[in-house]
């Protein structure tokens, strides 16, 4: 149907991030004995539909940037994701994609980036950062501002060590025990106190709708224009190809026209 061809990928790595969040790496399952890995072409911000036969599909953003593998950060939040996190190395993962728009990385060359993420919203941003790691020379300064619920729920701790060295990484948590040495407070506070100006910058935000809303308010106060801000929307994407209607916001299909949007282009849309 609908040219929705499912392809088998093979899981080559699985890493537990937090209690119910896992990072998976998958490669295209090879046909025959060919030793060459098939090249993948996906961009940060895009998503794949991940399948569990008998349960359904879940749209998951890519969180890597590589030619021969994709990484997905999966949180058990529904039927499909509950089952996905039970997969192990060597298992087949049936996917279709990539779908949707991506962060316009090439257009952002030469700019300084502010990447703001909340919770699992940091996952798609990891793809962006992986791109920046690869093409570091193309970008001016890179600021990473991440917020998590608690220190336990922090994602990509290994990556963070590297990012802390090569980028300006700042993190905050909503709540933490007395022994926590890092910053405590909402992500908006982190943004407010960052002292960043809007000159030659692009902002990329991903996180829950409320977080996006208030972060943008903070950025407005700091002099950022909506044309500088890119956000990613979450909706119920069933088909992924702009047919089923579930992900529509006004006339926009989040699956096809999004999920990545420049904020000025969608800020006035009615739900």
């Amino acid at each position: 149907m609908m040219s929705l061809n499912l392809e088998p990928f093979r899981i080559t790595r699985k890493e537990q991030m937090t209690g119910d969040i896992y990072l998976f790496r998958a490669e295209k399952a090879k046909a025959g004995k060919s030793k060459n890995k098939e090249k993948l072409s996906y961009q940060p911000g895009q998503f794949y539909q991940l399948n569990v036969p008998g349960l359904g599909e879940a749209p998951i953003s890519v969180c890597s940037y590589a030619d021969d593998y994709i990484e997905f950060n999966i949180r058990a939040l529904g039927d499909v994701t509950d089952e996905l996190i039970k997969l192990n190395v060597g298992d087949n993962l049936w996917v279709r994609g990539p779908y949707g728009t991506h962060y316009p990385m090439i257009d952002l060359h030469g700019k300084s980036l502010i990447i703001i993420g909340g919770g699992t919203g940091v996952a798609p941003l990891r793809g962006v950062i992986k791109y920046v790691e690869k093409y570091r020379a193309e970008f001016d300064r890179v600021h990473l501002l991440f917020g998590f619920k608690s220190p336990e729920e922090m994602l990509f701790k290994k990556d963070m060590e590297l990012w802390n060295r090569i980028f300006d990484l700042r993190t905050t948590v909503d709540k933490a025990g007395a022994d926590y040495k890092g910053k405590i407070g909402l992500i908006t506070k982190l943004v407010d106190e960052s002292g960043l100006d809007s000159k030659n910058k692009a902002v990329i935000i991903c996180g829950p709708p409320v977080m996006i809303k208030f972060t943008i308010q903070s950025l407005e106060k700091m002099g950022f224009s909506h044309e500088q801000i890119y956000i990613s929307h979450e909706r119920r994407m069933k088909c992924g190809v702009g047919m089923c209607g579930h992900c529509m916001i006004s006339g926009v299909y989040v699956c096809k026209d999004g999920p990545v949007f420049r904020y000025d282009q969608i800020k006035n849309l009615h739900e």
Binding site: G54, L55, G78, D79, D82, E83, N88, V89, G90
Partner: protein
Amino acid sequence: MSKMTKKKVHVRKGKKIKKIINQKKAVSKPRIGIHSITGCAGCQLSIYFIEDVLLDLLDKINLVAAPMIKEQNEEEGYDVLFVEGSVSSQEDLDNLLKWREKTKALVALGACACHGGMQSMKHLMNEKEVESAAYAKFPSDPRVKPITSVPLHKYVKVDFYIPGCPPDKQEIIQVLKHFLQGRRLRVYDKAVCHECSLKENYCLLDQGIECLGPLINGGCRALCPSFNHPCTGCRGLLDDANLESGKQVLKDKGFDVDLIIKRMTKYNSLQFKEFEEKTNINNKK
């Protein structure tokens, strides 16, 4: 892939198999119970009426308690407990509270358990009058301590609802399948009208028949309207049912307001009352 990683994968695979074997040992068939409080027991019967696949399903579960069809019944350690009927007496309540403690998941089976059913019409009447009408002629049994009939969730946590009077056979099968699959259960949440128009039925409202389709949760595959019987609401009001407009639909067709309310409250007195209260509060605002 290098030799190193190959070996690694192999080890992991071995671990995986071990894990599955361990799981197999640990997880035996889920222990299912079926219990009953005030109701007609018809819901329970509709479980037994899924003859065509009942044996296949019984193969996958361990039916440890079902007093209607079994002599030996276990009193505890349920994985899933189906309870039919509404809480209408102290005895019902005592049982329900006891069962809730003994089960991991509780499923409200049928209209009474989900929404209160017909016996909950006391909510819209004078309780004393109802009781004297029912018991005046007969000496009251001291064991019967009637309480205003309510659905299960008013007293205990309910994990899932299978509404309907009686519940739909296919839905019971589906719930059991989804449970065995480890799937999160979801109550069908689209109006009866939806399933009815997918079947291209001749709309009963268009024929001047007092159907409640637009207000009621479907999932029944519009069984009644498909046989020209108006929907009487056994699956409960939609979460966002527009009662005022629903009343107007029937008024426009020339039906008496009293009749309309009787129809709407046949199974769902409590839900109806709660909706009305909500509307009143909103109107006052």
